[in-house]
């Protein structure tokens, strides 16, 4: 009897995880559907003008506010790209050095230090980006005659890239270590040097797995909130220039929801539509990325 009761409790606990997922999906879809009653899906996904502010006045709900999310998607992509340009080479090369060259002692120091980078709260990165990096980049730009916006995509992306280095390096490290030594020996036995072996045998064998890791990193960058809220722009700006200020999906969610307003104005509902888009994008990236990583982590077991 007790046995069955405990089993029932355990089972219901495990169902909580399912309820959370259902809760997320249901709340996002429900609120987003209400949003799409006033704004067409087509305008949301393909519109290039984002100015939700004008919808603040109650008598104009949805009428004059523009909810074309393309500038947000482009801004998110731009900042994520900058972040990836920083973190992918640094992360992968760190992983190569750690797994192929570093002594055990060096490894035992460097790995925890990299973990620290991953453990620093994002709000701290945000502060750092806004207070240190952004002004520095702006001044640097000015000194060489380039106009760098104070809230440039570059500053936010750069700091976000640093945040993602440990994610990429630890996944790459796992994947590179999973490449069997017999391949390295085969190559060295043919007279290849160490770096030739790494570049022409180890890396090609690890590449798909590393790519999976990069997908996970992109997902993290896309969903990252605090760095961009603090260091990126607040107003939509459709541009591919990393020196200009752009805004992102997550920034707009925060901007739309942190004022004092009624719960069901188009502005609030738009945040849920953005949330739904964010959830879908990161979900797809995560599922594909983690499948690939899993496969290549275990392929030689």
């Amino acid at each position: 009897m007790v046995e069955r009761l405990i089993r029932a409790i355990l089972f219901s606990c495990s169902a909580v995880a399912i309820f959370i997922t259902i809760g997320i999906i249901a709340s996002l879809i429900f609120e987003a559907l209400r949003f799409f009653q006033s704004v067409s899906v087509f305008e949301f996904l393909f519109g290039t003008e984002w100015s939700p502010q004008t919808a603040l006045r109650a008598d104009q709900v949805g009428a004059s506010g523009r909810f074309g999310a393309v500038p947000l998607f482009v801004g998110t992509a731009l900042i994520s790209t900058v972040a990836l340009c920083v973190s992918a080479p640094l992360g992968i090369f760190s992983a190569i050095y750690l797994s192929e060259y570093a002594s055990d002692t060096l490894r035992s120091y460097v790995k925890p230090l990299l973990e620290i980078l991953a453990g620093i709260p994002t709000v701290v990165y945000g502060f750092f980006a806004a207070i240190v990096i952004a002004p520095a980049l702006s001044n640097l730009g000015a000194s060489i005659g380039l106009e760098v916006a104070y809230e440039s995509a570059l500053a936010a992306g750069l700091v976000m890239g640093v945040m993602i280095i440990p994610l990429i390096s630890s996944i790459s490290d796992d994947i590179i270590t999973a490449v069997p030594d017999s391949l390295r020996e085969g190559s060295r036995g043919l007279g290849a040097t160490k770096s030739e072996t790494i570049r022409r045998v180890v890396l090609p064998a690890a590449l798909p797995g590393i790519a999976g890791g990069i997908l996970l990193a992109i997902s993290r960058a896309v969903g990252e909130t605090m760095i961009v809220v603090m260091a990126a722009g607040l107003s939509a700006n459709l541009t591919f220039n990393p020196l200009e200020a752009v805004t992102t999906v997550t920034v707009q969610i925060v901007v739309l929801l942190t004022g004092d307003q009624e719960f069901d104005s188009s502005k609030t509902l738009a945040a849920f539509a953005l949330g739904l888009a964010l959830f879908c994008i990161t979900m797809v990236l995560n599922v594909i990325g983690s499948q690939i990583v899993k496969k290549y982590r275990e392929q030689y077991d």
Partner: protein
């Protein structure tokens, strides 16, 4: 500076290849090991090994597992350099040149001494790319007809050409185990080595695939000096001209294969080949 000298005095010149093969014992050995000791982090693995290996023949190294035969094999092309804490003393020469000489570049050395491993280890690339790998890194041929020729010739010599000629771009890992091992042999001979070291090449294969590899070894000895480590005495008897018996890190006895297997001079060898130790 050291590397520069290596370059000027290339080990790659293959002087003996075109000379007629001979069994004459007076001919200098292809490889001569004298007083070779190997230790791993201070623990002695092989002790004072002296062995001459004749050109263009198959020499088999046999012995119970852990006897040091693989360790010795890996000294010849300095693969032991890759193992941390591994120390080799003594002298090994290839065509009278010191393999461990300060002016020797292992990259060039390993081009001359190819190796085939216990577990078939084709790279996760196409069949073609596997064979082309060595010639590419050594710059012997990088593209076009030259490379195609090398790939074809190597696959033909390894007895694999007919089986794979229509699917050179297929992934090598899709081949059967025996085919993969023959591909590894093709990969090794594509760089035109003098010597091929084989470390239990058939241990992961079924008897039919093993038979094909053994036939192949027999063919290859007309062009290459082959040193093979095997745990199978039958295999050693079948493929080798000379056989060396290792026991507890020492070279016990080396002689013509038929003598080792029929009338060894050392008691330990006799015990091993008759199956009472192993």
């Amino acid at each position: 500076m050291m590397l520069e000298r290596t370059h000027v005095q290339p080990l790659t010149v293959n002087s003996s290849r075109d000379e007629p093969s001979t069994d004459d014992a007076s001919v200098a050995p292809k490889i001569r090991a004298s007083g070779v000791n190997v230790s791993y982090s201070g623990r002695l693995a092989i002790n004072n090994v002296n062995l001459d290996i004749k050109a263009k023949s198959v020499t088999a190294l046999i012995g119970p597992s852990g006897c040091g035969k693989t360790t010795f094999l890996r000294c010849i092309n300095r693969m032991n350099d890759l193992i941390e804490g591994c120390e080799v003393t003594g002298n090994i020469t290839l065509d009278n040149e010191d393999v461990y000489g300060s002016d020797v570049d292992v990259v060039v050395l390993r081009r001359r001494i190819g190796m085939v491993f216990q577990k078939h280890n084709p790279f996760p690339k196409s069949i073609y790319e596997n064979v082309a790998y060595g010639p590419r890194i050594h710059g012997q041929a990088t593209k076009g007809d030259d490379l195609n020729q090398i790939v074809e010739r190597s696959l033909v010599r390894a007895g694999l050409w007919d089986e794979v000629k229509d699917r050179l771009d297929a992934p090598a890992t899709g081949l059967s185990g025996g085919q993969q091992q023959r591909l590894c042999i093709a990969r090794a001979i594509a760089v035109e080595p003098d010597v091929i070291l084989m470390d239990e090449p058939c241990s992961a294969l079924d008897p039919i695939a093993t038979a094909r590899i053994e036939e192949l070894i027999d063919d290859l000895k007309t062009k290459y000096t082959i040193v093979i480590v095997t745990h199978s005495m039958q295999q050693a008897a079948r493929v080798s001209q000379r056989t060396a018996f290792f026991h507890l890190g020492e070279l016990v006895e080396e002689n013509e294969a038929k003598i080792i297997f029929t009338n060894p001079s050392d008691e330990r060898t006799r015990a091993y080949v008759t199956g009472s130790i192993g």
